[in-house]
């Protein structure tokens, strides 16, 4: 039994932006750009989204190394302005929740990862939570905002999350929710490139981190309808080749088991995964 895509009764130009924010401490400690400067640019960007339209909504999910959690929801009634009025409500709430989240995430860290490698952040969890929230928005009434997801990611892809991320991508494709990615790490992220290609979003790596706000506001701030009128970064060469299960190398011709769909580069008599 499948759920059909919800009927598209969009209120004009109203967007719901769900942002997944990478807070992986292992990544940020080795990255030349400081997390606090990154965060100040992102906060300015989120504020500008809320200023573009009175009905726009922003939800922020923090993607940590051991857990994920909601840190900000502009539509919730729990937002209070800071007590001494020095910051807008969005800043104080988000920073407060983010502080709590990072402290809790740190407590959950166990020294199990291999030294020399940076553990990945839990992008699959954040995407799943974002999609559940967007489904709730679809149920909210006859006219609902146009949802999209923006992934601010720097950590490398964790191969153990491949199946979960692909499931999330296909579900986003069926519900017509574009997944944009702003990737700040060193090498391109294959998962996010595939996500943006399949769902019709934008994948972009900002060349200079000092101008991050500029890139965010020109590429990722526009709503979906207005994107038709803009020249946005084109996706270059998404690599759809598979990797073989035995050597983990990308191959362009291989053997696929008809029962369990494992991919091998050489022909075997028996599939080693399902032993059939």
């Amino acid at each position: 039994m499948t759920t059909s895509a919800p009927s598209k009764n969009y209120a004009d130009d109203v967007s719901l932006l769900v942002v997944t924010l990478d807070t992986n401490p292992f990544f940020w400690s080795s990255f030349p750009f400081h997390f606090s400067e990154f965060l100040s640019q992102v906060l300015a960007f989120l504020n500008s989204i809320l200023l573009l339209g009175q009905l726009n909504q922003v939800v922020v999910i923090a993607t940590g190394c051991n857990s994920c959690s909601y840190v900000y929801d502009s539509a919730s009634d729990k937002n209070h302005a800071s007590t001494n009025g020095t910051m807008p409500a969005i800043y104080s709430n988000l920073l407060h929740n983010l502080d709590e989240f990072v402290a809790k995430d740190q407590q959950l860290t166990t020294p199990h990862h291999k030294p020399g490698t940076i553990p990945s952040s839990l992008l699959s969890g954040a995407l799943s939570m974002a999609l559940c929230y967007i489904q709730r928005a679809f149920r909210s009434g006859p006219m609902h905002p146009q949802p999209r997801i923006l992934c601010l990611q720097g950590s490398t892809d964790g191969p153990e999350q491949y199946v979960a991320i692909m499931n999330a991508i296909f579900s986003a494709q069926r519900s017509v929710v574009p997944v944009d990615s702003c990737f700040i790490g060193s090498n391109n992220s294959a998962f996010l490139q595939q996500a943006s290609y399949i769902t019709g979003g934008i994948y972009y790596r900002p060349p200079q981190m000092e101008g991050l706000f500029q890139y965010l506001s020109t590429v990722f701030a526009t709503d979906l309808h207005s994107r038709e009128f803009l020249r946005l970064p084109k996706s270059l060469g998404v690599d759809f080749r598979a990797s073989c299960f035995c050597h983990k190398q990308t191959i362009d011709m291989g053997y696929v088991c008809s029962v369990c769909l494992s991919i091998f580069c050489e022909h075997h008599d028996k599939c080693s995964t399902c032993r059939l």
Binding site: M1, T2, T3, C65, N66, S67, C68, S69, Y70, S76, L108, T110, L122, S124, G125, S128, M129, L131, C132, Y133, Q135, R136, R139, P159, E160, Q161, Y162, V163, A164, M166, N167, A168, I169, F170, S171, R174, I198, G237, V238, D239, F240, R241, A242, I251, D252, M253, G254, Y255, V256, C257, S258, V259, C260, L261, F264, H267, C271, T273, C274, L276
Partner: protein
């Protein structure tokens, strides 16, 4: 004045005789009161106000029951599923398909639902093939061959919707049997028959044909639109398929969409093989090549077969020159959720939630919706919610349905690193 209402619609009096005799003399608006009875869908609530019946609670209860039935069969073992399927859809275009008991007619409903089914089928089984067969005037014709592109099947079906004559079950099965004998041995052979007639006009012994299909390991399923027939039930029991009869349009849609996820595979039915497949790269923008599907020169985005280097326009497909199956890794990934299903969530009754000894969160973990019921005078009563047995996070019923039907990831298990118990590094 009443003759318009009294005239039978189809011209055959035998079927509508009883109805017409009783409603003779009624206008169309009067018949709506006797047939539709729209007042029955209203209910009084506590304060005496009228409101429509709350179907969401009934919907959730049905969904939970269905999930429990599936889970009890599956237990904890992972069932092997037939992922590479070769399915023939047999559409009955006999005179009975033009009946109007399904609005606007059985044929129109079948055509619309088959279109939806084909799209859903290729979404869930990207490596599979579908073919269409129609039966009318006592013969069966192959409308489209087994192919992997949904558009060609849908276009062919929409062009040929005239109904006449009798349906022939044996001819349809013979045709399907001869076609399915040519497919490779690792594929699962299936037939889905959408039968609206109450009889079959056959040239020989239908039981022999059924035994032939059973020997060739073809799994036949039937969805009836009229009434239950013994021969269909016998066919499905012999070959291991499912037989169901649709009550109305929405039930028919439910029944046909139940056939889109892969059925449990009987191990002897298809041999396990390693199939050679290619993973083409996308051609560079601006390159010019003659594509093999349309046979004209095209620029830019297309794929290059890794074995013979010709250009194809879309995936998944079979290279026309060298016969290599070409797919991309997302197509394989679409089927992974059949191999790694998530466990059904356990229900939490509202009474145990009000227990002061346990602390339950007030919001759903996935969508942050409040789990306390909203309503006048409801106070802080908790509603029915579910929780994942692995990560123990609580979810609302809507998230439960979305997660199990579309997302196939538990957000709780994915959001906590050390609760992962399933890895794909197998």
């Amino acid at each position: 004045m009443n003759n318009i209402a009294g005239k039978p619609l189809n011209g055959d009096l035998e079927d509508d005789d009883e109805d017409e005799a009783n409603d003779d003399g009624l206008e169309a608006w009067e018949r709506a009161y006797t047939e539709d009875r729209s007042w029955e869908s209203l209910q009084e609530d506590e304060s005496g106000l009228l409101r429509p019946i709350d179907t969401t609670a009934i919907h959730h209860a049905q969904y939970r029951r269905r999930l429990r039935a599936l889970a009890s069969n599956a237990a904890t073992a992972r069932i092997q599923k037939g992922l590479i399927r070769y399915l023939y859809i047999v559409v009955d275009l006999s005179k009975a398909a033009s009946e109007r008991d399904f609005r606007p007619s059985r044929m129109a409903v079948i055509a619309k639902q088959v279109e939806l089914f084909i799209r859903e089928f290729f979404d869930q089984n990207p490596l599979s093939h579908v073919g269409l067969v129609t039966t009318k005037d006592g013969v069966a014709n192959c409308l489209t061959d087994l192919g992997g592109s949904p558009e060609s099947h849908i276009k062919a079906l929409m062009g040929k919707l005239e109904c006449s004559g009798d349906a022939s079950l044996q001819n349809a099965l013979e045709l399907v049997h001869s076609n399915l004998n040519q497919i490779p041995s690792y594929g699962h052979r299936e037939v889905l028959i959408l039968y609206s007639a109450l009889s079959t006009c056959d040239p020989g012994d239908l039981m022999e044909t059924i035994q032939k299909c059973k020997k060739s390991k073809i799994r036949c399923s039937v969805i009836g639109l009229a009434a239950e027939m013994f021969i269909c039930k016998h066919l499905c029991q012999e070959t291991g398929g499912t037989y169901s009869v649709a009550l109305d349009e929405s039930h028919f849609k439910e029944l046909i969409l139940e056939h889109s996820p892969p059925p449990p595979a009987i191990a002897e039915y298809a041999t396990a093989n390693l199939i050679k497949m290619g993973f083409p790269q996308r051609a560079a923008e601006g390159s010019v090549a003659i594509c093999t599907c349309h046979e004209e020169a095209k620029t830019g985005g297309g794929y290059t077969c890794p074995r013979c280097k010709v250009r194809v326009c879309e995936l998944p497909t079979e290279c026309r020159v060298c016969g290599l199956t070409l797919i991309s890794s997302p197509h394989l990934a679409r089927s992974y959720h059949h191999l790694f299903p998530i466990v059904p969530f356990a229900e939490i009754s509202p009474s145990s939630q009000n227990d002061p000894n346990h602390s339950f969160p007030n919001t759903c973990f996935g969508c942050q919706q409040s789990l306390l019921s909203q309503g006048f005078g409801a106070g802080n009563k908790a509603e029915l919610s579910v929780s994942c047995p692995k990560c123990k996070q609580q979810f609302c019923l809507d998230c439960d349905m979305y997660i199990h039907e579309s997302l196939h990831n538990c957000p709780g298990c994915e959001s906590f690193r050390h609760s992962k118990s399933v890895t794909i590094a197998q």
